[in-house]
Protein backbone atom coordinates (compact mmCIF):
# COMPACT_ATOMS: atom_id res chain seq x y z
CA UNK A 1 0.00 0.00 0.00
CA UNK A 2 2.81 2.35 1.01
CA UNK A 3 4.61 1.53 -2.21
CA UNK A 4 1.54 2.27 -4.31
CA UNK A 5 1.30 5.71 -2.73
CA UNK A 6 4.70 6.66 -4.13
CA UNK A 7 3.39 7.32 -7.63
CA UNK A 8 0.53 9.43 -6.32
CA UNK A 9 2.83 11.44 -4.10
CA UNK A 10 5.18 12.07 -6.96
CA UNK A 11 2.35 13.13 -9.25
CA UNK A 12 1.37 15.75 -6.69
CA UNK A 13 4.96 16.96 -6.48
CA UNK A 14 5.29 17.26 -10.24
CA UNK A 15 2.08 19.24 -10.51
CA UNK A 16 3.30 21.65 -7.85
CA UNK A 17 6.42 22.41 -9.75
CA UNK A 18 7.58 25.48 -7.98
CA UNK A 19 6.61 24.38 -4.59
CA UNK A 20 8.47 24.98 -1.40
CA UNK A 21 8.97 22.01 0.83
CA UNK A 22 9.45 23.40 4.29
CA UNK A 23 9.21 22.30 7.84
CA UNK A 24 6.31 23.54 9.91
CA UNK A 25 8.63 25.71 11.97
CA UNK A 26 7.69 29.36 12.25
CA UNK A 27 11.31 30.45 12.05
CA UNK A 28 11.99 31.91 8.62
CA UNK A 29 14.67 29.70 7.09
CA UNK A 30 15.77 30.32 3.55
CA UNK A 31 15.03 27.12 1.65
CA UNK A 32 17.66 25.49 -0.50
CA UNK A 33 16.76 26.21 -4.12
CA UNK A 34 17.21 23.03 -6.14
CA UNK A 35 17.03 23.39 -9.88
CA UNK A 36 16.26 20.13 -11.64
CA UNK A 37 16.04 19.10 -15.25
CA UNK A 38 12.71 17.75 -16.41
CA UNK A 39 14.24 14.37 -17.05
CA UNK A 40 13.68 10.86 -15.64
CA UNK A 41 17.13 11.01 -14.03
CA UNK A 42 15.83 13.73 -11.68
CA UNK A 43 13.46 11.26 -10.07
CA UNK A 44 15.58 11.00 -6.92
CA UNK A 45 15.14 14.72 -6.26
CA UNK A 46 11.39 14.62 -6.82
CA UNK A 47 10.92 11.43 -4.85
CA UNK A 48 12.87 12.89 -1.92
CA UNK A 49 10.65 15.98 -2.00
CA UNK A 50 7.41 14.02 -2.41
CA UNK A 51 8.24 11.70 0.46
CA UNK A 52 9.40 14.57 2.71
CA UNK A 53 12.88 13.07 2.92
CA UNK A 54 14.62 16.44 2.60
CA UNK A 55 12.57 17.74 5.49
CA UNK A 56 13.29 14.72 7.64
CA UNK A 57 17.00 15.25 7.02
CA UNK A 58 16.67 18.84 8.20
CA UNK A 59 16.86 20.48 4.78
CA UNK A 60 14.17 22.83 3.56
CA UNK A 61 14.01 22.93 -0.20
CA UNK A 62 12.31 24.72 -3.05
CA UNK A 63 12.25 22.89 -6.35
CA UNK A 64 12.60 24.75 -9.62
CA UNK A 65 12.08 22.95 -12.91
CA UNK A 66 14.26 23.53 -15.95
CA UNK A 67 13.75 22.35 -19.49
CA UNK A 68 17.42 22.42 -20.40
CA UNK A 69 20.73 22.08 -18.57
CA UNK A 70 22.28 25.24 -20.05
CA UNK A 71 19.62 27.49 -18.44
CA UNK A 72 19.95 25.65 -15.16
CA UNK A 73 23.73 25.97 -15.04
CA UNK A 74 23.46 29.64 -16.01
CA UNK A 75 21.08 30.24 -13.10
CA UNK A 76 23.40 28.33 -10.77
CA UNK A 77 26.22 30.66 -11.81
CA UNK A 78 23.97 33.70 -11.19
CA UNK A 79 23.00 32.47 -7.70
CA UNK A 80 19.36 31.99 -8.72
CA UNK A 81 19.54 28.42 -7.49
CA UNK A 82 21.78 26.76 -4.88
CA UNK A 83 21.95 23.20 -6.15
CA UNK A 84 21.43 21.73 -9.61
CA UNK A 85 20.35 18.35 -10.95
CA UNK A 86 21.45 18.56 -14.58
CA UNK A 87 23.10 16.44 -17.24
CA UNK A 88 26.60 15.24 -16.54
CA UNK A 89 27.87 15.73 -20.09
CA UNK A 90 27.09 19.45 -20.18
CA UNK A 91 28.29 19.90 -16.60
CA UNK A 92 31.67 18.33 -17.39
CA UNK A 93 31.97 20.49 -20.51
CA UNK A 94 31.40 23.63 -18.47
CA UNK A 95 33.88 22.48 -15.82
CA UNK A 96 36.46 21.95 -18.56
CA UNK A 97 35.68 25.50 -19.75
CA UNK A 98 36.61 26.80 -16.33
CA UNK A 99 33.16 27.28 -14.80
CA UNK A 100 33.18 27.07 -11.01
CA UNK A 101 31.07 23.96 -10.54
CA UNK A 102 31.44 21.15 -8.05
CA UNK A 103 29.69 17.81 -8.58
CA UNK A 104 28.47 16.35 -5.28
CA UNK A 105 26.27 13.42 -6.24
CA UNK A 106 24.65 11.40 -8.96
CA UNK A 107 21.16 10.76 -10.24
CA UNK A 108 19.61 8.68 -12.98
CA UNK A 109 20.67 7.76 -16.49
CA UNK A 110 18.21 6.75 -19.18
CA UNK A 111 19.39 3.53 -20.77
CA UNK A 112 17.72 3.71 -24.17
CA UNK A 113 20.04 0.93 -25.29
CA UNK A 114 21.53 -1.79 -23.13
CA UNK A 115 25.13 -0.61 -22.41
CA UNK A 116 26.33 -4.13 -23.17
CA UNK A 117 25.31 -3.57 -26.80
CA UNK A 118 27.27 -0.30 -27.11
CA UNK A 119 30.88 0.42 -27.85
CA UNK A 120 32.82 2.65 -25.44
CA UNK A 121 32.08 5.89 -27.29
CA UNK A 122 28.35 5.20 -27.57
CA UNK A 123 28.25 4.10 -23.94
CA UNK A 124 29.88 7.37 -22.88
CA UNK A 125 27.43 9.31 -25.04
CA UNK A 126 24.48 7.60 -23.40
CA UNK A 127 25.96 8.15 -19.94
CA UNK A 128 26.54 11.84 -20.67
CA UNK A 129 22.78 12.35 -20.71
CA UNK A 130 22.50 11.18 -17.09
CA UNK A 131 21.88 13.49 -14.17
CA UNK A 132 24.36 14.62 -11.53
CA UNK A 133 23.96 16.97 -8.59
CA UNK A 134 26.18 20.01 -8.45
CA UNK A 135 26.75 23.31 -6.63
CA UNK A 136 28.55 26.47 -7.63
CA UNK A 137 31.99 26.84 -6.07
CA UNK A 138 32.83 29.64 -3.72
CA UNK A 139 31.44 31.22 -0.59
CA UNK A 140 27.84 31.14 -1.85
CA UNK A 141 27.82 27.33 -1.92
CA UNK A 142 25.68 25.66 0.73
CA UNK A 143 27.59 24.31 3.72
CA UNK A 144 28.73 20.72 4.10
CA UNK A 145 26.10 19.87 6.72
CA UNK A 146 23.26 21.01 4.46
CA UNK A 147 24.67 19.15 1.47
CA UNK A 148 25.16 16.00 3.53
CA UNK A 149 21.50 16.22 4.56
CA UNK A 150 20.53 16.69 0.92
CA UNK A 151 22.57 13.67 -0.22
CA UNK A 152 21.19 11.55 2.63
CA UNK A 153 17.67 12.33 1.44
CA UNK A 154 18.63 11.41 -2.13
CA UNK A 155 20.09 8.06 -1.06
CA UNK A 156 16.91 7.36 0.88
CA UNK A 157 14.90 8.30 -2.22
CA UNK A 158 17.01 5.82 -4.17
CA UNK A 159 16.27 3.12 -1.59
CA UNK A 160 12.60 3.96 -1.78
CA UNK A 161 12.48 3.84 -5.58
CA UNK A 162 14.41 0.59 -5.78
CA UNK A 163 12.09 -1.05 -3.29
CA UNK A 164 9.01 0.06 -5.21
CA UNK A 165 7.60 -2.38 -7.78
CA UNK A 166 8.82 -1.78 -11.33
CA UNK A 167 5.41 -0.51 -12.41
CA UNK A 168 5.56 2.22 -9.76
CA UNK A 169 9.12 3.14 -10.73
CA UNK A 170 8.17 3.36 -14.38
CA UNK A 171 5.22 5.57 -13.52
CA UNK A 172 7.48 7.83 -11.48
CA UNK A 173 10.03 8.37 -14.24
CA UNK A 174 7.51 8.85 -17.01
CA UNK A 175 5.64 11.47 -15.00
CA UNK A 176 8.73 13.63 -14.85
CA UNK A 177 9.18 14.16 -18.54
CA UNK A 178 7.79 13.08 -21.86
CA UNK A 179 7.08 9.38 -21.66
CA UNK A 180 9.36 7.21 -23.74
CA UNK A 181 8.24 3.61 -23.96
CA UNK A 182 10.47 0.65 -23.15
CA UNK A 183 13.23 2.57 -21.57
CA UNK A 184 14.82 1.93 -18.24
CA UNK A 185 16.55 4.31 -15.88
CA UNK A 186 19.62 3.38 -13.94
CA UNK A 187 19.92 5.29 -10.68
CA UNK A 188 23.31 5.92 -9.11
CA UNK A 189 23.31 8.44 -6.24
CA UNK A 190 27.10 8.53 -6.14
CA UNK A 191 29.14 10.78 -8.41
CA UNK A 192 31.85 8.15 -8.45
CA UNK A 193 35.17 9.70 -9.50
CA UNK A 194 36.16 6.76 -11.69
CA UNK A 195 32.89 7.04 -13.65
CA UNK A 196 33.35 10.79 -14.07
CA UNK A 197 36.97 10.32 -15.09
CA UNK A 198 35.94 7.79 -17.75
CA UNK A 199 33.49 10.31 -19.20
CA UNK A 200 36.03 13.11 -18.90
CA UNK A 201 38.60 11.16 -20.87
CA UNK A 202 36.18 9.77 -23.42
CA UNK A 203 35.14 13.34 -24.24
CA UNK A 204 38.77 14.41 -24.36
CA UNK A 205 38.25 17.16 -21.79
CA UNK A 206 41.67 16.96 -20.14
CA UNK A 207 43.52 19.69 -22.02
CA UNK A 208 47.23 20.31 -22.17
CA UNK A 209 48.39 22.35 -19.20
CA UNK A 210 45.43 21.42 -17.01
CA UNK A 211 46.53 20.15 -13.57
CA UNK A 212 46.26 16.37 -13.29
CA UNK A 213 43.70 16.78 -10.51
CA UNK A 214 41.55 19.29 -12.40
CA UNK A 215 38.51 16.99 -12.48
CA UNK A 216 39.01 15.75 -8.90
CA UNK A 217 39.06 19.37 -7.72
CA UNK A 218 35.55 19.78 -9.14
CA UNK A 219 34.19 16.63 -7.58
CA UNK A 220 33.37 16.32 -3.89
CA UNK A 221 32.85 12.66 -3.02
CA UNK A 222 33.07 13.35 0.70
CA UNK A 223 29.48 14.64 0.77
CA UNK A 224 28.19 11.32 -0.54
CA UNK A 225 30.50 9.37 1.79
CA UNK A 226 29.34 11.37 4.81
CA UNK A 227 25.71 10.80 3.81
CA UNK A 228 26.32 7.05 3.57
CA UNK A 229 28.05 7.11 6.97
CA UNK A 230 25.10 8.95 8.45
CA UNK A 231 22.65 6.32 7.19
CA UNK A 232 24.87 3.44 8.28
CA UNK A 233 25.32 4.97 11.73
CA UNK A 234 21.59 5.38 12.01
CA UNK A 235 20.25 2.18 10.49
CA UNK A 236 23.20 -0.21 10.39
CA UNK A 237 23.76 -2.28 7.28
CA UNK A 238 20.62 -4.39 7.40
CA UNK A 239 19.30 -2.88 4.20
CA UNK A 240 20.83 -4.79 1.28
CA UNK A 241 20.80 -1.81 -1.07
CA UNK A 242 22.53 0.43 1.47
CA UNK A 243 25.05 -2.34 2.07
CA UNK A 244 25.72 -2.50 -1.66
CA UNK A 245 26.15 1.28 -1.97
CA UNK A 246 28.43 1.29 1.05
CA UNK A 247 30.49 -1.56 -0.32
CA UNK A 248 30.88 0.09 -3.73
CA UNK A 249 31.86 3.52 -2.42
CA UNK A 250 35.58 4.33 -2.30
CA UNK A 251 35.67 6.64 0.71
CA UNK A 252 38.53 7.78 2.89
CA UNK A 253 38.23 5.53 5.97
CA UNK A 254 37.22 6.76 9.38
CA UNK A 255 40.34 7.33 11.41
CA UNK A 256 39.42 9.12 14.55
CA UNK A 257 37.36 9.01 17.69
CA UNK A 258 33.85 10.39 17.14
CA UNK A 259 34.47 13.40 19.32
CA UNK A 260 37.77 14.33 17.69
CA UNK A 261 37.46 17.92 16.60
CA UNK A 262 39.70 20.26 14.74
CA UNK A 263 41.77 22.21 17.17
CA UNK A 264 44.71 24.48 16.97
CA UNK A 265 46.60 26.93 19.02
CA UNK A 266 44.34 29.85 18.27
CA UNK A 267 41.34 27.90 19.52
CA UNK A 268 43.12 27.13 22.74
CA UNK A 269 43.91 23.61 21.72
CA UNK A 270 47.01 21.58 21.57
CA UNK A 271 50.38 22.70 22.92
Amino acid sequence: MARARLGTLLTASVLMLQMTVVAGSAAPVKPLRIGYLDHPGSALVLTAAAKNLFKSEGVQVRLIRYCDTESGLADLAKDRIDVGAFTVGETLLQIADGKGLRIIGGGGTVLAVDPADLDEAAKAEQESGGIVMMVAEGPRAPGKAVLTGLMTALIRAHQSLQKAPKAVRDRVVTQISLPVPDRSVHFEPSADYRRMERLWRSRDLQKEGMPRDFLATHLDEEIYCDALDRLVDRDGLKDELLKKLFSEAVCVPDCCPKDAKKKNKREGGLL
Binding site: Y193, R194, E197, P211, R212, D213, F214, L215, A216, T217, E222, C225, L228, D229, V232, D233, L237, F246, S247, V250, C251, V252, P253, D254, C255, C256, P257, K258, A260, K261, K262, K263, N264, K265, G269, L270, L271
Partner: protein, 342 residues
Protein backbone atom coordinates in the same frame (compact mmCIF):
# COMPACT_ATOMS: atom_id res chain seq x y z
CA UNK B 1 81.68 56.60 24.99
CA UNK B 2 81.55 56.34 21.20
CA UNK B 3 83.14 52.88 21.42
CA UNK B 4 80.53 51.73 23.92
CA UNK B 5 77.71 53.05 21.71
CA UNK B 6 79.18 51.22 18.70
CA UNK B 7 79.46 48.00 20.73
CA UNK B 8 75.84 48.23 21.86
CA UNK B 9 74.72 48.89 18.29
CA UNK B 10 76.73 45.93 17.01
CA UNK B 11 75.25 43.69 19.71
CA UNK B 12 71.71 44.68 18.82
CA UNK B 13 72.37 44.04 15.16
CA UNK B 14 73.74 40.61 15.96
CA UNK B 15 70.78 39.85 18.20
CA UNK B 16 68.46 40.86 15.39
CA UNK B 17 70.19 38.49 13.02
CA UNK B 18 70.48 35.51 15.32
CA UNK B 19 67.36 35.67 17.45
CA UNK B 20 64.96 37.96 15.68
CA UNK B 21 65.07 36.39 12.24
CA UNK B 22 61.79 34.80 11.34
CA UNK B 23 61.98 31.05 11.04
CA UNK B 24 60.27 29.48 8.06
CA UNK B 25 56.78 28.35 9.08
CA UNK B 26 55.14 25.01 8.48
CA UNK B 27 51.47 24.34 9.17
CA UNK B 28 51.27 20.67 10.14
CA UNK B 29 48.06 18.61 10.26
CA UNK B 30 47.57 15.40 12.21
CA UNK B 31 44.85 13.12 13.53
CA UNK B 32 44.69 12.27 17.24
CA UNK B 33 46.36 8.87 17.50
CA UNK B 34 48.99 8.02 20.14
CA UNK B 35 51.53 6.90 17.55
CA UNK B 36 51.49 10.37 15.98
CA UNK B 37 53.28 11.59 19.06
CA UNK B 38 56.61 12.61 17.49
CA UNK B 39 55.03 15.94 16.55
CA UNK B 40 54.19 16.63 20.19
CA UNK B 41 57.66 15.60 21.38
CA UNK B 42 59.44 17.74 18.78
CA UNK B 43 57.23 20.70 19.66
CA UNK B 44 57.45 20.29 23.42
CA UNK B 45 61.22 19.73 23.45
CA UNK B 46 61.87 22.64 21.11
CA UNK B 47 63.45 20.51 18.35
CA UNK B 48 61.57 22.24 15.54
CA UNK B 49 62.87 25.65 16.55
CA UNK B 50 66.37 24.31 17.21
CA UNK B 51 66.45 22.88 13.71
CA UNK B 52 65.19 26.19 12.34
CA UNK B 53 61.52 25.71 11.54
CA UNK B 54 58.46 27.21 13.19
CA UNK B 55 55.77 24.52 13.33
CA UNK B 56 52.12 25.10 14.08
CA UNK B 57 50.07 21.97 14.74
CA UNK B 58 46.48 21.51 13.61
CA UNK B 59 44.36 18.58 14.74
CA UNK B 60 41.77 17.14 12.37
CA UNK B 61 38.81 14.89 13.10
CA UNK B 62 39.17 12.92 9.89
CA UNK B 63 41.81 12.08 7.33
CA UNK B 64 39.55 13.33 4.54
CA UNK B 65 39.24 16.78 6.11
CA UNK B 66 42.96 16.94 6.76
CA UNK B 67 43.90 16.06 3.20
CA UNK B 68 41.31 18.48 1.83
CA UNK B 69 43.04 21.19 3.87
CA UNK B 70 46.41 20.10 2.51
CA UNK B 71 45.05 20.12 -1.03
CA UNK B 72 43.62 23.60 -0.48
CA UNK B 73 47.08 24.67 0.74
CA UNK B 74 45.77 25.52 4.18
CA UNK B 75 48.42 23.10 5.46
CA UNK B 76 52.01 22.61 4.36
CA UNK B 77 52.38 19.04 5.52
CA UNK B 78 50.30 16.43 7.32
CA UNK B 79 49.85 12.87 8.51
CA UNK B 80 46.55 11.33 7.52
CA UNK B 81 46.93 7.57 7.20
CA UNK B 82 48.23 5.78 4.13
CA UNK B 83 45.02 5.04 2.23
CA UNK B 84 43.82 8.64 2.11
CA UNK B 85 46.94 10.15 0.49
CA UNK B 86 47.12 7.24 -1.95
CA UNK B 87 43.49 7.85 -2.97
CA UNK B 88 44.14 11.57 -3.40
CA UNK B 89 47.31 10.99 -5.43
CA UNK B 90 45.55 8.43 -7.63
CA UNK B 91 43.01 11.16 -8.43
CA UNK B 92 45.67 13.61 -9.46
CA UNK B 93 46.73 15.39 -6.27
CA UNK B 94 50.39 16.36 -6.52
CA UNK B 95 51.43 15.17 -3.07
CA UNK B 96 54.71 13.55 -2.10
CA UNK B 97 55.34 11.14 0.73
CA UNK B 98 58.37 12.54 2.55
CA UNK B 99 58.39 10.60 5.80
CA UNK B 100 56.43 8.47 8.18
CA UNK B 101 54.86 8.69 11.60
CA UNK B 102 53.60 5.25 12.54
CA UNK B 103 54.53 1.66 11.77
CA UNK B 104 52.17 -1.18 12.67
CA UNK B 105 49.43 -0.61 15.21
CA UNK B 106 46.43 -2.62 14.05
CA UNK B 107 44.99 -5.47 16.07
CA UNK B 108 42.41 -8.23 15.73
CA UNK B 109 40.03 -8.31 18.67
CA UNK B 110 37.60 -10.98 19.71
CA UNK B 111 35.44 -12.04 22.62
CA UNK B 112 37.31 -13.83 25.44
CA UNK B 113 35.55 -17.16 24.81
CA UNK B 114 36.77 -17.12 21.17
CA UNK B 115 40.39 -16.37 22.02
CA UNK B 116 41.63 -19.99 22.23
CA UNK B 117 40.14 -20.78 18.85
CA UNK B 118 42.01 -17.87 17.26
CA UNK B 119 45.34 -18.41 18.96
CA UNK B 120 48.57 -19.53 17.32
CA UNK B 121 50.84 -18.01 14.77
CA UNK B 122 49.06 -19.17 11.66
CA UNK B 123 46.64 -16.98 9.73
CA UNK B 124 44.69 -20.14 8.86
CA UNK B 125 42.86 -19.78 12.19
CA UNK B 126 40.83 -17.04 10.49
CA UNK B 127 39.62 -19.28 7.66
CA UNK B 128 35.84 -19.46 7.63
CA UNK B 129 35.55 -16.60 10.11
CA UNK B 130 33.45 -13.49 9.85
CA UNK B 131 35.71 -10.44 10.30
CA UNK B 132 34.46 -6.91 10.89
CA UNK B 133 36.49 -4.01 9.53
CA UNK B 134 36.45 -0.42 8.36
CA UNK B 135 36.83 -0.59 4.61
CA UNK B 136 40.14 0.77 3.29
CA UNK B 137 41.50 1.23 6.80
CA UNK B 138 45.14 0.22 7.25
CA UNK B 139 43.99 -2.93 9.07
CA UNK B 140 41.75 -3.93 6.17
CA UNK B 141 44.42 -3.40 3.50
CA UNK B 142 47.32 -4.96 5.42
CA UNK B 143 45.39 -7.93 6.81
CA UNK B 144 44.26 -8.81 3.28
CA UNK B 145 47.85 -8.34 2.12
CA UNK B 146 49.06 -10.71 4.86
CA UNK B 147 46.44 -13.30 3.93
CA UNK B 148 47.46 -13.12 0.31
CA UNK B 149 51.13 -13.51 1.20
CA UNK B 150 50.19 -16.55 3.28
CA UNK B 151 48.50 -18.07 0.24
CA UNK B 152 44.98 -17.70 1.62
CA UNK B 153 42.25 -16.70 -0.82
CA UNK B 154 40.48 -14.19 1.41
CA UNK B 155 37.61 -13.68 -0.99
CA UNK B 156 36.71 -17.35 -0.73
CA UNK B 157 37.96 -18.40 2.69
CA UNK B 158 36.91 -15.47 4.90
CA UNK B 159 33.79 -13.41 5.22
CA UNK B 160 34.48 -9.69 5.66
CA UNK B 161 31.79 -7.41 7.04
CA UNK B 162 32.32 -3.69 6.39
CA UNK B 163 31.43 -1.04 8.95
CA UNK B 164 31.50 2.74 8.80
CA UNK B 165 33.44 3.30 11.99
CA UNK B 166 35.83 1.42 14.21
CA UNK B 167 33.34 1.91 17.07
CA UNK B 168 30.80 -0.08 15.04
CA UNK B 169 33.39 -2.85 14.55
CA UNK B 170 33.96 -3.04 18.31
CA UNK B 171 30.21 -3.14 18.89
CA UNK B 172 29.79 -5.98 16.39
CA UNK B 173 32.53 -8.01 18.09
CA UNK B 174 30.95 -7.34 21.47
CA UNK B 175 27.54 -8.53 20.30
CA UNK B 176 28.96 -11.55 18.53
CA UNK B 177 27.75 -10.34 15.13
CA UNK B 178 31.28 -11.05 13.84
CA UNK B 179 33.92 -13.50 15.07
CA UNK B 180 36.66 -10.88 15.21
CA UNK B 181 37.30 -7.28 14.25
CA UNK B 182 40.21 -5.26 12.87
CA UNK B 183 40.80 -2.13 14.93
CA UNK B 184 43.52 0.40 15.54
CA UNK B 185 44.89 2.22 18.57
CA UNK B 186 43.63 3.24 21.03
CA UNK B 187 40.41 1.35 20.22
CA UNK B 188 41.60 -2.13 21.09
CA UNK B 189 42.93 -0.97 24.43
CA UNK B 190 39.64 0.77 25.09
CA UNK B 191 37.73 -2.35 23.98
CA UNK B 192 39.77 -4.47 26.39
CA UNK B 193 39.35 -2.01 29.22
CA UNK B 194 35.69 -1.12 28.72
CA UNK B 195 34.17 -4.35 27.36
CA UNK B 196 36.56 -7.13 28.32
CA UNK B 197 37.34 -7.97 24.69
CA UNK B 198 40.72 -9.53 23.89
CA UNK B 199 43.40 -8.94 21.31
CA UNK B 200 43.82 -12.20 19.40
CA UNK B 201 46.67 -10.90 17.25
CA UNK B 202 48.48 -7.79 16.22
CA UNK B 203 48.61 -7.70 12.45
CA UNK B 204 52.32 -7.12 12.76
CA UNK B 205 52.56 -10.75 13.99
CA UNK B 206 51.92 -11.71 10.38
CA UNK B 207 53.26 -8.68 8.51
CA UNK B 208 56.27 -7.05 10.18
CA UNK B 209 57.03 -3.35 9.74
CA UNK B 210 54.02 -2.54 7.61
CA UNK B 211 53.31 1.07 6.85
CA UNK B 212 50.70 3.06 8.62
CA UNK B 213 50.33 6.84 8.70
CA UNK B 214 52.72 8.65 6.32
CA UNK B 215 53.87 12.26 6.16
CA UNK B 216 52.73 13.96 2.95
CA UNK B 217 53.23 17.44 1.51
CA UNK B 218 52.69 19.29 -1.75
CA UNK B 219 55.31 18.16 -4.24
CA UNK B 220 55.87 21.67 -5.57
CA UNK B 221 56.37 23.07 -2.05
CA UNK B 222 58.73 20.27 -1.14
CA UNK B 223 60.78 20.93 -4.25
CA UNK B 224 60.71 24.69 -3.77
CA UNK B 225 61.61 24.66 -0.08
CA UNK B 226 63.49 21.45 0.40
CA UNK B 227 65.61 22.85 3.25
CA UNK B 228 62.61 23.66 5.46
CA UNK B 229 61.23 20.14 5.06
CA UNK B 230 64.69 18.73 5.82
CA UNK B 231 64.78 20.71 9.06
CA UNK B 232 61.27 19.51 9.89
CA UNK B 233 62.29 15.87 9.40
CA UNK B 234 65.52 16.38 11.35
CA UNK B 235 63.41 17.53 14.31
CA UNK B 236 61.25 14.41 14.02
CA UNK B 237 64.36 12.19 13.85
CA UNK B 238 65.53 13.76 17.11
CA UNK B 239 62.04 13.34 18.57
CA UNK B 240 62.23 9.64 17.68
CA UNK B 241 65.44 9.32 19.65
CA UNK B 242 63.78 11.03 22.61
CA UNK B 243 60.78 8.69 22.39
CA UNK B 244 63.07 5.66 22.34
CA UNK B 245 65.15 6.80 25.29
CA UNK B 246 62.75 8.73 27.55
CA UNK B 247 59.59 6.65 28.04
CA UNK B 248 58.20 8.41 31.09
CA UNK B 249 58.45 11.92 29.73
CA UNK B 250 57.20 10.81 26.32
CA UNK B 251 54.09 9.25 27.87
CA UNK B 252 53.41 12.51 29.69
CA UNK B 253 53.80 14.53 26.48
CA UNK B 254 51.48 12.20 24.54
CA UNK B 255 48.92 12.20 27.33
CA UNK B 256 48.92 15.98 27.58
CA UNK B 257 48.52 16.35 23.84
CA UNK B 258 45.89 13.69 23.19
CA UNK B 259 43.91 13.65 26.43
CA UNK B 260 43.91 9.85 26.41
CA UNK B 261 44.30 7.70 29.52
CA UNK B 262 48.00 7.69 30.49
CA UNK B 263 47.98 3.94 31.23
CA UNK B 264 46.64 3.18 27.77
CA UNK B 265 49.33 5.29 26.15
CA UNK B 266 52.09 3.70 28.25
CA UNK B 267 50.75 0.22 27.60
CA UNK B 268 50.44 0.68 23.84
CA UNK B 269 53.67 2.59 23.42
CA UNK B 270 56.12 0.88 25.73
CA UNK B 271 54.63 -2.29 27.23
CA UNK B 272 52.90 -3.99 24.33
CA UNK B 273 54.62 -1.81 21.71
CA UNK B 274 51.68 -2.13 19.37
CA UNK B 275 52.92 0.60 17.06
CA UNK B 276 56.12 2.47 16.54
CA UNK B 277 56.29 6.23 16.02
CA UNK B 278 58.95 6.19 13.32
CA UNK B 279 59.64 9.01 10.83
CA UNK B 280 61.18 6.72 8.17
CA UNK B 281 59.39 7.10 4.80
CA UNK B 282 59.20 3.30 4.34
CA UNK B 283 59.07 3.51 0.56
CA UNK B 284 58.79 -0.24 0.04
CA UNK B 285 55.91 -0.38 2.51
CA UNK B 286 53.99 2.36 0.69
CA UNK B 287 54.36 0.53 -2.61
CA UNK B 288 53.22 -2.74 -1.00
CA UNK B 289 50.23 -0.94 0.50
CA UNK B 290 49.27 0.49 -2.89
CA UNK B 291 49.51 -2.97 -4.44
CA UNK B 292 47.27 -4.44 -1.73
CA UNK B 293 44.64 -1.73 -2.37
CA UNK B 294 44.65 -2.69 -6.03
CA UNK B 295 44.62 -6.43 -5.28
CA UNK B 296 41.60 -5.93 -3.05
CA UNK B 297 39.82 -4.30 -6.00
CA UNK B 298 39.27 -0.93 -4.34
CA UNK B 299 41.11 0.86 -7.15
CA UNK B 300 41.66 -1.08 -10.32
CA UNK B 301 43.63 1.48 -12.32
CA UNK B 302 47.38 1.32 -12.08
CA UNK B 303 49.36 4.43 -11.27
CA UNK B 304 53.12 4.99 -10.90
CA UNK B 305 52.96 5.77 -7.19
CA UNK B 306 56.73 5.55 -6.76
CA UNK B 307 57.23 8.98 -8.31
CA UNK B 308 55.28 10.45 -5.37
CA UNK B 309 57.69 9.05 -2.78
CA UNK B 310 60.60 11.29 -1.88
CA UNK B 311 63.05 9.52 0.42
CA UNK B 312 66.03 11.79 -0.23
CA UNK B 313 65.02 14.64 2.08
CA UNK B 314 64.64 12.22 4.97
CA UNK B 315 68.03 10.69 4.15
CA UNK B 316 69.65 14.13 4.08
CA UNK B 317 68.05 14.97 7.44
CA UNK B 318 69.20 11.68 8.94
CA UNK B 319 72.73 12.14 7.58
CA UNK B 320 72.89 15.65 9.05
CA UNK B 321 71.73 14.44 12.47
CA UNK B 322 74.20 11.54 12.38
CA UNK B 323 77.02 13.92 11.42
CA UNK B 324 76.40 15.84 14.62
CA UNK B 325 76.03 12.65 16.69
CA UNK B 326 78.15 10.03 14.92
CA UNK B 327 78.25 7.56 17.80
CA UNK B 328 74.57 7.62 18.70
CA UNK B 329 73.16 4.08 18.53
CA UNK B 330 69.56 5.12 17.86
CA UNK B 331 70.53 7.17 14.81
CA UNK B 332 72.71 4.34 13.50
CA UNK B 333 69.77 1.95 13.89
CA UNK B 334 67.59 4.41 11.97
CA UNK B 335 70.13 4.41 9.16
CA UNK B 336 70.15 0.62 9.00
CA UNK B 337 66.35 0.59 9.00
CA UNK B 338 66.27 3.22 6.25
CA UNK B 339 68.58 1.19 4.04
CA UNK B 340 66.46 -1.90 4.49
CA UNK B 341 63.09 -0.27 3.82
CA UNK B 342 63.74 2.32 1.15
Amino acid sequence: MKRIMMFVLLLSLLAGTVFGAELPKLRVGYVPEPAHGLYFVAKEKGYFKEEGVDVELFQFGSAAEGLAALKAEKLDVGTFGTTAPLLFISKGSEFSFIGGMMIGGQAIITRPERLAELSGKDLKVYKGKKIGLVKLSTGDVIFKGALKKAGIDYRKDLNFVEFGTVAAVVEAVKKGAVDAGLVYPPHFSLAEKNYGLKVAHYIEDFYPDYTCCRIVAHTKQVNADRETYRKFLAALIRAYRFYKTNPDETVKIYTKALKIDEDIIRNETYVKRVAESNPDPLRKGILDFWKHIQDAGYITQDYPMDKHINTSIYKEALDAVIKKNPKDKTYQQMLTFYKKNN
